[in-house]
Each structure stands twice: as C-alpha cells, then as structure tokens.
Subunit: 554 residues, 2 copies
C-alpha cells in the first residue's frame, strides 16, 4: 500500500471566492467534500448560476464513496442538485443535521426525491471506502458547520470548511479546539484551510457582539425597524428576536428564504422564538410602527429580494415611509456594492434612516482573521499546507501566514482549481492538471461557458442583430423577392428608411455578384451575404452587430 | 426687477454620483455650470457613456450666455462635446487654463474645431448677460479647480464644484478661503456644495501625505515598480516622479490618457519633470528592473487600460513577472470594486506584490470630509443651502451638516435632478419639475434610455432570439417553402434537430390555420406567427427569447 497516492483535487474555490468543491482520492476511491456554486457576474449575461466543472467526476462516478458537505451555505452546498442529477442520486451524502435539512429542501425543489442523505454528528466516525472520516464542530455564520478530517494509511488530512474561532458563540458551543489539538499532537498530514479573511489582521469579533449592537440601535429607533441579514444566519436572527423582545416589539419575517430557513432552524432547535412573537406579514398593519421589527432578505441588494422591492415601493405587504429605520446587519459581498448602495439610496429617497455595519457593531464576519488562521495552523501542526477558499491574493497571504508560524516553505502548496496535490510516503507535489472551471446554469439546464449561446448573447447585447432574408429561384439563383432586412437592438440615429434602402441595395449587389459567379450553394451564398453586409454595416454604423443571413430557395 | 426669479435647475449630479450639470437662469438668460458624464453600469448593455438629458436646453439654446466648467474631470467636463454639437459650437465656454486645455483636446477628438473656449483665472470678473461671474480657486485631485460664484440683483450664489480644503497642497496654493470668507461677510444667497464625502467624519488628509507614503513604499521595493493612479491626478504623478528621483529610478508613462494629461500638465507648468527622467516604453527594456517606475492608467480596472492588459499578460510593451510591485495610488470608485479586485488577483497570480491605499498612506481623497463641508458653510454663511454632487444619502447627510452649523431647516433644500430651486425677494422654494434624466451615448450617437434598441438588447442578452422565415405564395397564401428557423443565444440542451423539427411543425400549423382563416395581410400573419411561436418556445424551453417572424411573399 505504500505506493498508493493521496490525491487532493480542488474543482472550485481556489483562485476565486465561491463554488467550493474538492475531490479526495485514495486507492481508487473518491470522497467529494462540498459542492458549492457561485452567482454570475454582470458579464455572464443571462446566466443564472455558476457551478464547478465536474467533468472529471463523470467517468469516475462509480468510484465516489460519498459526498460530505461542511455546511449549508450556497458556496458549499448549492451545486448538489445538479451533481446528483448528473452523477446519480444514489451517491450517499453526509453532513450535519441542519446542513442535510437544507440539502433536502433544495433537492425537493429540484424534484430529486430518491436521494441518500445521512445526518452526521461531530465525533461520529464514518467509513467511506479507504477513508475514515470524522466531522469536527466549528463556528461560522450558520450553525452546524463542520470541518472534515479524512484519514488513510498515509495519515490524516483536514479540510476546514469556513470557520472562525468564536469564543462566545450565540449557541454556547465554540469550535472543538480540543479535537483539533489532538489531531495536531497525533500529527496532521495536510491542512486545507479557509483563506477568506487572510487579508485581515487580528482576530474576528464574536457573533455575540451583534446582539448588544442591535439592541442599542433598536433603542434609538422611534418608528418601524427593518433588519436585513443573510437568511441562513440563524444566530443573527436569534439576536434580532432577543433584542426585539427587550424592546417589546413583534417580529415579522419577510422573504421566502428567510421564512424557510427560520422554520428549519426552529425545527432543529437552533433558534428559539417566544410564543406570540412572530406576526404574519399581512397582520403587520394591525400593529403600530413602533411595535414592529421586520426581518427581511435582501442584504445584498438582490433584484427580487423583499428589501429591494420595499426600496422600490414594489412590495405587496410592506410599504416603507419616512420614520422607518432600515438596519443592514450584513456587509456587501465584493461585487454587490453597487446593488447594495442603490438599495440604500432608494431608502434615503423614501426618507428612511439607514444603519449599516459601518455605523454600529451589528455584524461580525463568519471567517477567521489572520490570528485565527495562525491558531488553526498551530493547533493542527500540519506537515503540508494547501490554502483553500480564496482568490490568488488570499491564498498567497495564507501561505505567508503558514510560513510565519514555521511551516517549511517547500511544504506549502499554493494551488489552483484542477491542480491535484499528490502525497505519498516520499513527499508531496502537484500532479498533472485536470479539467476544472465553470459550468453555467441557464434556466434549468447546465452548459459549458464556451457555450455558443452565451457568446452569442454577449454579441447580441453589445450591438444587436441584423437579419437579412434573400429569396432566390431554385432554377437559376435569381432573386425572386426583394430582400427583407430586419434589425433589433442596433444603435443608429440615421434615417431608418434610408439606411434600410441602402442595405437592401447592398444585398442586391451581393446577390447579383453571386449569380454572376454562379455561387448557388446556400452555405456559400449565406457566407457571402454575411461578409458583405457585416462590412457595409460597420462602415456605416461603426458597429458590429450580429449578421444573420437567411437564403430561401423557391 | 424685484419680481425676477433666480432659477437653479440641476440636470445631473443630484441623487447620483456623476454627470454633474446645472442650469442657472435669471431674467431670461442662462448660464450652465459643468457638463459632466457618467460611465454606464453593467445593466446598461452596449452603452458607452451616460449624459445628462439636456432636452430642457434645446429650446433655450439661444438664451445660453455661456458654459462654465469647474475642472477637467469627466463627471464635470465630459459631456461638453455632445452638448456643443447639439446646442451650437458658438456657445462660449469658460474655465481655468488646464480645464480648457483638456476641453480642447476632447473637442479635437470629436472634430469640433470652431469652438469658443476662454481661459479664466481666479479673481477675474466675467459678465454673462445678467450674471457677474467670478471663479474662486479651490483644491481638488486635479489642478485648476475653481468654484463658480454667480451674482445677480438678488445676491450671490456659489457652486463649489468638487473641493477639499487642502492646507498643504502639492503646488503650494491652498483654496482661497479669504475670498470665500469675504463672500460670507457680504452675505451669500445660496450655496450649492459638494456632498461626495458627506458621510466621512473629520477632515480629509492632504494630497501631500501621498508623497512620503509613496517614497516609503518605493524604498521597500526590490524590483520593478508599477504605480497606477488617475491620469488627471497630476500632483499625484508629480509626487511619484519626486519619489522616483530620490530612489534614482527612471519613470515610464504608460497609457494614452496618462501621456496626454502629463503632456498638457507640463506645458501649463503644473508638473515638473527633471531632464532625462522620462523613458519611452519601448526603451524601458534597456534598464534593469530596480531602476524603473512605470506610471500607468488602469487604477479602476478598466477593461482596455494599460494595467489591466499587463495583468492579463496582454500589454505590447510591459510584461510583468515575479518580483514586480504594483502600487494602487487610488481607491476604486463604487461599482468598480470587482474589476479592481480581478486585476489585483491576476497580479498576485503572476507573482507580483500589490500595495493598495489600505496598506500605506499613498492616496488622499479629492473631496472634503464633514468638517470641511461645515467649514465651507461657516465661511460662506449662506442663507439658502442646496447640497450638490451626491446620491440621496449624501445629500441628506450634507443637509444635516448644514443644520448642525445653524442653517435654518426651512432654508435647506434637498433637491433632485430636474427640480428647480426658485429664489426671489420673497424667499426660496422648489418649482415645477423639468425634464431631466439620462441620455445614452451608443457609439457616436446619442439616444434616449427608453430607446427601443437598448430594450431590445436587454431582451436579446437575457434569452437570445428566434428567427422564423415563412415563404408564402402571393396568389393563395400557401406555404411554398419549408419555414426556416434560426436561433442564436437561446439556452437549450435538448436535441437541436428535434427541437427545430417540432418548431417547424408548429409554424406549419400556424400557417395552415392562417390560410384557413384567410389571414393574408403580412402584418397579421407575422403577429400570428410571433404569438404562436413565442408560446410554443416558452412551453418547451421556459425561456422568452425574442421571436422575429419574417413572411416573404413570392
């Protein structure tokens, strides 16, 4: 067995923030840790979601012993429905009870009923093929976050998932530093740790600071209060509810995911709501403003979220007005700044007061800062380190932290998606790159990013489209009807009739030339029309719209 | 004359950051202060630039006595070519010498030669119709920034433009507080002040702090240095050059606007470059890395900028490598965060070290903070206050600052684009809203945002397009060729042949139905094909692509 290699292949989450997914291989068997997704950027026009390219697993589906999910956030869990649908719904999935409840709800929405989800509690041992697996309780911005330890004959590796060392978590259950220290004493082979906050010095504030912060802010509010935060941040919502109780206000939950997550959280005992505290949105009007706190989705300025709709005076149940205070108990994820600022500005325009995490201590990050990353390294004393969950900058900074606590530089591996780290008894090194990247969810289906449809949409969105229809005789190729020219989305300010006339003339010229040169094959004729028209349009409009020639033979 | 109203009509810059433009009217005459533009957001697909809607001025072009530009930044100057082109190149334009030089360069690029630009120096008096105008020297992140005082029989109003009270500016010329204080003593009627940093407490740091900051950073760099900042921030570039001199490095200017602005700045004496200091980009290879500083455009991650191209290993002259340090002497403008972060991450991937304004004091904002806004209010002692240059949030905060220094709440006007403030001897109040908003620059032409082309492009970019061509007989309306179906940008994963076959069948059905119902008019037939196909496609793909039916009669 000493020749067997441990392979750690990240399919997502390295060189980027989001869509975390890792393949761990040993002796022909595979365990997948996390199946996350990302949200598209503005350039990814018409795309709904971005998933890790899991082509590598398609041929190896039979070798997958199981999928382990660290926690219920979209960037660790979100791709699960597509992966099970494509690779087989019989692949067993493991995770904490809240994580599995959120997974089940997600799979239900995708009508994937016959799946195999198993709740795992911290400390419980799992055997998956050659892997002994143990989940270690950690703290994060969602309950039930667990690091994954995978043990083979070569030793133990730990994938931390997202974590912070919250010493005073809201549920009173700090990260299991004892177990981490034990692993360190036994000698950890490899640590794959969260790099998200590798650029922040110091130690992250505890989630518990948000409670008194919210309570103080609520105390200053005269009218109605709207609090927005991530719907999965169940402990944050708990603290809003606790503060509401102190100020004798009722709580209204608004937004589908907020209601869903708080329901799941209540069922599993992660959140306690006093009887009679919750009010239905449609009953909220029966209460005076100063007796209400609305807890809403939309902290990221998402277009269809409840808060965004309130800000644009388009929410069916909540109409904001002067005197309301909107509290952002979340910070914008990079890329969402503009959407969040837009929402805030609409709220000011309505006359609301707005409180953000810059104004009061009402938010704490779920990811450990530099001192916590160092603490993790010192606790687990890994031989090898491969920073996870970060763009190249954060991976670089995490590597510097590892060096600072004494990990040998040659044992630190700054990886990339698709680049497997291979470890055997002789040492560790990067192997041959495997296919990795993105696949897009476009409606209900998934596709390649090199997808023609997306490329076409980018082109269409830039300069629009010209369609030219030429009708020619089957006998001699002569034009039997005036060419039809239609354009959409093309910017122009010239006289449309004249422009169309000129284009028609240019098309007729092309057709005559084709007839003279005896170009009769439809493909060639279309190519010729395309090239001529594209040139003509560029010369006239200095634009490169898509040109679509259609030749009909009659 | 006592019945004559002063009207201050902002056409841009209120309720937004950017495209500042104000119309000031008195006794039938108009002076325009600033003609700025904005850059499009990601949702404004295919749009190049956003200008203020100046429809209001089209019918009043003859009443315009002149345009006064406060300084050379795009958000105050950039729309000038379009405005002169549309309203008349004979409208006189006034501003500081650097501002006018930048305007001239811009107008030249638009081939507007016969324009009337006049350099104005601070203190010089201008008479434009009923307005006595005086420019007041201020400090900002570009030299030659001047506030505009407009005096009529009713008193003096001041439009501050963008300013800070830099006590130690790089050129040794602080803002003319003496003149501002005089105006205050004489009694200012109305202050329209910059609100950009109304959310920042305290006093902004002086531009002079960036020099020692850059010098210290450069001292720690072993290899080549790339510094990026706004090309118009001539004093920042001066400080880079000064620090380069201390560290005995040559300076290479990269990027078209960087070279252009520094040229203009040198000609006008705003920047001093020692002889032999500048090296051409193509000569840079002759110097060792540790002897070079490259000053580059691209601090905002702009797609075609020099730095972005370097980061993507696509720059013709500069190839970055491990050991290079890239210094961002600018902070991202809201909305640019993702592009800047992308650029930074590519640089880390190459192996460069990256220093930003978070790491060292190498940047200072050009806009005064809260204490400076209060100082402006206290110096000028205005009767009425109308905050300018800010989204609703910042306008609201500026209004709070005005109240804090003792301006009566009823004399503070929180305005909006298109809402004129009217002042006469009886008092001040908002008048009837005028048309204001955006117009888009789409290539070389300008258009309305409700423009069909843009709406079409949004639709095309979301779901693509289906084109269906039906060829029917002129005699009896029967189909004489199989319908042609072409689609582009439509996301689908079904078998294309089968999908096309089914669609063709559906189109044939529609044609048969039309023939039976004797629908022969092309418009009606196209409408029917459109509705039937859109319905069919939505049922099959759950998408709403644009559907473009073409009926050809032969």
């Amino acid at each position: 067995m000493s020749n067997t290699k441990l392979r750690v292949l990240p399919l997502g989450g390295l060189g980027e923030i989001g869509k975390n997914m890792t393949v761990v291989e040993y002796d022909g068997s595979i365990v997948v840790v996390d199946t996350g997704l990302r949200f598209p950027t503005a350039e990814q026009v018409g795309i709904d979601l971005v998933l890790p390219d899991f082509t590598y697993l398609r041929e190896r589906a039979d070798d997958i012993e199981g999928i382990v999910i660290t926690h219920g956030h979209e960037d660790h869990l979100g791709a699960l429905p597509w992966i099970l649908r494509e690779l087989g719904t019989d692949i067993p999935v493991f995770g904490g009870p809240l994580t599995m409840a959120m997974a089940r709800s997600k799979l239900d929405e995708h009508r994937l009923k016959e799946t195999d989800l198993t709740d795992v509690t911290p400390g419980e041992k799992l055997e998956l093929g050659p892997f002994d697996i143990e989940l270690v309780h950690m703290t994060h911005s969602i309950p039930d976050m667990m690091a994954v330890a995978l043990t083979t004959d070569l030793g133990t590796m730990l994938i931390t998932g997202d974590y912070k060392f919250d010493q005073t978590p809201v549920d009173g259950k700090p990260a299991d530093v004892t177990r981490l220290a034990e692993m360190g004493r036994e000698g950890l082979l490899l640590l794959c740790g969260d790099s998200t906050n590798a650029d922040r010095p110091g130690f992250s504030p505890s989630e518990s600071v948000a409670g008194p912060g919210l309570e103080a802010v609520f105390g200053r509010c005269k009218g109605r209060i709207v609090v927005t935060c991530f719907a999965s941040n169940i402990h944050r919502v708990q603290q809003v509810i606790d503060a509401a109780k102190i100020h004798k206000r009722k709580v209204v939950l608004v937004g589908r995911s907020m209601r869903k997550n708080i329901n799941i959280g209540r069922m599993l005992g992660h959140i306690e709501v006093p009887d009679g505290m919750l009010v239905q949105p449609r009953e909220a009007r029966d209460f005076p403003d100063e007796k209400l706190i609305i807890v809403s989705t939309g902290s990221q300025g998402e277009p269809l979220s409840a808060l965004r709709r309130m800000a644009y005076k388009d929410h069916p149940q909540v109409e904001l007005h002067q005197g309301d205070t909107v509290v952002f108990a979340a910070t914008p994820i990079p890329g969402n700044e503009r959407a969040v600022n837009d929402t805030i500005d609409r709220l000011y325009h309505i006359g609301c007061d707005v409180i953000t995490a810059k104004d009061a201590p009402i938010h704490a990050s779920g990811h450990g800062y530099q001192e916590e990353i160092k603490l993790m390294l010192n606790l687990t004393q890994p031989k090898y380190v491969m920073p996870f969950h970060g763009d190249h900058k954060r991976i670089h900074l995490h590597a510097e932290l590892a060096e600072a606590v004494g990990v040998k530089p040659e044992n630190i591996f700054k990886g990339e998606n698709g680049l497997p780290l291979e470890i055997d008894e002789k040492g560790a090194r990067f192997g041959k790159p495997e296919r990795a990247g993105m696949i897009y969810v476009d409606g209900v289906d998934i596709g390649d990013p090199t997808d023609v449809a997306l490329r076409d949409r980018r082109m269409l969105s830039a300069d629009g489209i010209f369609v030219v229809v030429a009708t020619i005789s089957e006998q001699d190729g002569s034009s039997v009807a005036d060419p039809e020219i239609i354009f959409r989305g093309v910017p122009y300010s010239q006289d449309a009739e004249k422009l169309l006339g000129d284009i028609r003339e240019s098309v007729n010229h092309s057709l005559e030339r084709a007839a003279k040169d005896e170009i009769r094959e439809i493909d060639l004729l279309q190519q010729l029309l395309h090239d001529d028209l594209a040139k003509f349009v560029y010369e006239r409009l200095r634009r490169r719209p898509m040109v679509l020639p259609v030749v009909v033979e009659v």
